[in-house]
């Protein structure tokens, strides 16, 4: 029987979330910003599954399924916007998005 402490699972989720935050702040490429958001959602999912598995309840896995659905919806809309923005401006610079209302 495996005996991984729940705190190690939570710490792994925290590390992944912090890496996502760092990537979100340090990248200027819009595509890599979306990738960082995916990493953050994944870290939150790891924490949910670790906690749900610790208390032997399926609720943690169900929350991960909802995170999965939200991530899929967010990515599809965000990538459609991204392609449209790239066709319009020819760049993926996040600083160029400030003129979207023009």
């Amino acid at each position: 029987m495996n005996a991984v402490p729940m705190s190690h699972g939570l710490i792994l989720g925290g590390i992944l979330f912090a890496l996502g935050v760092a990537g979100l702040l340090m990248r200027r490429n819009l595509l890599l910003i979306l990738v960082s958001i995916e990493v953050m959602l994944n870290g939150a999912g790891v924490a949910f599954v670790a906690a749900g598995s610790c208390w032997a309840q399926p609720d943690g896995q169900i929350m991960f399924l909802f995170i999965l659905a939200a991530a899929a919806a967010e990515v599809s809309v965000a990538l459609a916007l991204l392609v449209r923005f790239y066709r319009m401006r020819g760049t993926l610079d996040a600083d160029a998005v400030r003129g979207l209302g023009e």
Partner: protein, 169 residues
């Protein structure tokens, strides 16, 4: 008592963290996405060792299979070249990454301190199969399933509209 599942957890966790670090620092978008696939596969192994085989399967199929393929298709549509690599190098050079990395490390240290000093003393030992998850999902969480389906429908309509409006002059 260091069983093989426990060792697999730590190995997969290290693989996931290292590949995520590589993913958020690559200059070429395709390399970042490939490292992100490795990261998701590592997290899937972590899920399996934590006794969640259904979620591990879905992580591979949906995250690494569907969402990352969507990213890869978008990158292919954009024809990013060496010019973009040089620009990425300029964007990431110098102290542009130092401040965010430092602040995130401080926050992570606080979170780890709180987790370690807290009362979370349980062990991840339960093996929750797909039957338990399905019974809870289509029982008390039915409204959540309906809302998720409506969210996905809205996303489909939104993405279709955004890509179709482009065709008009």
């Amino acid at each position: 008592m260091s069983g093989p599942m426990e060792a697999a957890f730590y190995v997969a966790a290290v693989v996931a963290v290292v590949s995520t670090i590589l993913a958020i620092t690559r200059l070429v978008a395709v390399h970042a996405l490939l490292y992100l696939i490795v990261s998701f596969l590592g997290v899937a192994v972590v899920f399996y060792t934590m006794g969640a085989p259904l979620v591990a399967t879905l992580e591979v199929i949906i995250y690494a299979g569907a969402i990352l393929v969507l990213f890869l298709f978008v990158v292919m549509m954009m024809n990013l070249g060496t010019r973009d690599r040089e620009r990425e190098r300029q964007w990431l050079s110098g102290a542009a990454w130092l401040g965010p990395a430092l602040l995130s490390a401080i926050l992570l240290a606080e979170v780890i301190y709180l987790i370690v000093s807290g009362a979370t003393s349980g062990a991840v030992a339960a093996n929750i199969g797909s039957k338990d998850v399905a019974l809870a999902l289509y029982g008390p969480y039915m409204i959540g399933v309906e809302l998720a389906s409506m969210l996905l429908l809205g996303a489909v309509v939104g993405a279709t509209h955004l890509s179709k409006a482009e065709a008009r002059p």
